[in-house]
Amino acid sequence: MFKKVLIANRGEIALRINRACHELGVSTVAIFSDVDRQSLHVRYADEAFCVGPGPVMRSYLNIPNIISAALISGCDAIHPGYGFLAENARFAEIAADHGLVFIGPKPAVIAAMGDKATAKRLMSEAGVPTTPGSGIVASVDEAKAVADEIGYPVLLKATAGGGGKGMRAVSSADELPTAFATARAEAEASFKDGRMYVEKLIVNPRHVEVQVLADEHGGAVHLGERDCSVQKPSHQKLIEEAPAPELDPAVRARLHEVAVSAVRAVGYTNAGTLEFLVSGDQTYFMEMNTRIQVEHPVTELVYGVDLVKEQIRIASGEPLGFTQDDLQAHGHAIEVRVNAEDPQNGFAPAAGTLTNVVFPGGPGIRVDTHVYTGAVVPPFYDSMLAKIVAVGRTRESALLRMERALGETRIEGVKTTVDICREIVADPEFRAGGIGVAWLPAFLARRTAAV
């Protein structure tokens, strides 16, 4: 086991990793930007280094200062959390070059999965069902030929893309030339990589993802699926749950099975998530996230496994302490993301001082957060303030607990997603289960129209 781990992140995930390390008897080193000096992750770590000013390029993405902090404090590993440098293969390589273990998969695997067209090809070769479509298309004419063959609507996607950038839905051949040009320009501007591919657009699919863990000795397991279909119009997840409600057992079993075989096929190690689109009994691989995810607690609560501790154990060379047969899901868990955002104004992020903060408690409630009364929300970072997670023996009991917990939550000083999430959790269509990714945008539109 490692002696000391540098946590290359901020906010709730930095605190989450700090907790896992301390439970494993591992010392921690936090990094922070100078606007985060009062943040809890700094206070709870054994040591802390300021690595730069507020803007992320100069602090949380400042590779030389982060590696230097790890070296001068005598760390033997780095946990990247999610976001920032978590899926940066170059960072993982640089860490390794300096004798630091990167807690995640190998750099080559991160790079392969980070390139969407490569990931799709590798998964397809491993027998994972993927969306019908093309490899890289060099021109509009090539894109058009593919679209004619698979049928409209299609999705143009940048292979380096992410966060909806470099992506366009195209419903007919007329729209294709403009969409192709703008998506490619956007990808070139955002990722310095304008390579595009085409795939079939699946209308209103569910977003279902499978959690996997794989050690460095050939052990690989899945920890079931999460349903993340409640997405804002920007495609960012807002509410997640495990297991996926109203999912055909045959579909569920197939997703679990292909996830584990894909992990073995690509030589994946550590924690990862395979994201799928599900439409009826059809499943399509979308992408693989080579990191711990924001929504990992719902899986932890139904499987009783600490995923962050498992990441650290795996990276330190330990074999998995369990087999697939040892893993049984119990009950149902749901997570709500409490963001400093204004739902009435397109979820525009808000910054400011939190004048009053009270989080819920009681049976079946877990809160992962880094904020407190008086904490300042800087304008530079992700707007997530907390994750409220409810677990129950059934979905119904978990949802009731979540409603109760959101009612107990008080956050004053900035606008948040607490109330909108409470409305969603109480909504009969959401309660029924099995909604698709188009549900929340439609719900929001109905709500606006009703006002």
């Binding site: 100078d34 985060d36 000013p53 030389p64 300096h98």
Partner: protein, 145 residues
């Protein structure tokens, strides 16, 4: 808050501390906290980066031996690394010119120069040769003359 604002505030605070005769001054503004203390036996004001480890230092009173200068440049580290003094190292009270090399902070084998801004007299030497320093950590003060 930008580093320039912090540096400006630290400088202003150093001046105020020098004139006040207080041993220790701390200002907190939301996310940022700046604390300056007079070091024992030091003529100049001493600036401390309030890292978590340095937080909550007991408010011991330290003697003020000499009147301090009116204003001081706080020379802070721009990187995380190990600070190295040039030989021979500067000493407190030594007159220095503008852009004078005082040492460097080594980060992953790269030497990041540490220089004076304007001319003046060396105030406090806030670190020791070979010490690990973080971004924004004050290394030296240079009193404007």
């Amino acid at each position: 808050m930008t580093e320039d604002v912090i540096a400006t505030r630290a400088r202003a605070l150093a001046g105020a501390l020098a004139e006040s005769g207080f041993a220790r001054v701390r200002i907190r503004d939301g996310e940022t906290e700046i604390e300056l203390r007079r070091a024992a036996g030091s003529a100049g004001a001493r600036a401390l980066a309030p890292a978590a480890a340095a937080d909550g230092v007991a408010g011991e009173r330290e003697p003020v031996r000499e009147p301090a200068a009116r204003a001081a440049d706080v020379i802070a580290s721009e990187v995380v690394g190990i600070v190295r003094f040039l030989r021979p190292p500067v000493i407190e009270g030594q007159e220095v010119e503008a852009d004078r090399d005082l040492g460097y902070v080594e980060t992953l084998g790269i030497r990041n120069a540490v220089r004076t801004r304007g001319p003046g007299r060396m105030g406090a030497i806030l670190v020791t040769d070979g010490q690990a320093v973080e971004y924004g950590q004050p290394l030296f003060t240079v009193e404007r003359v």
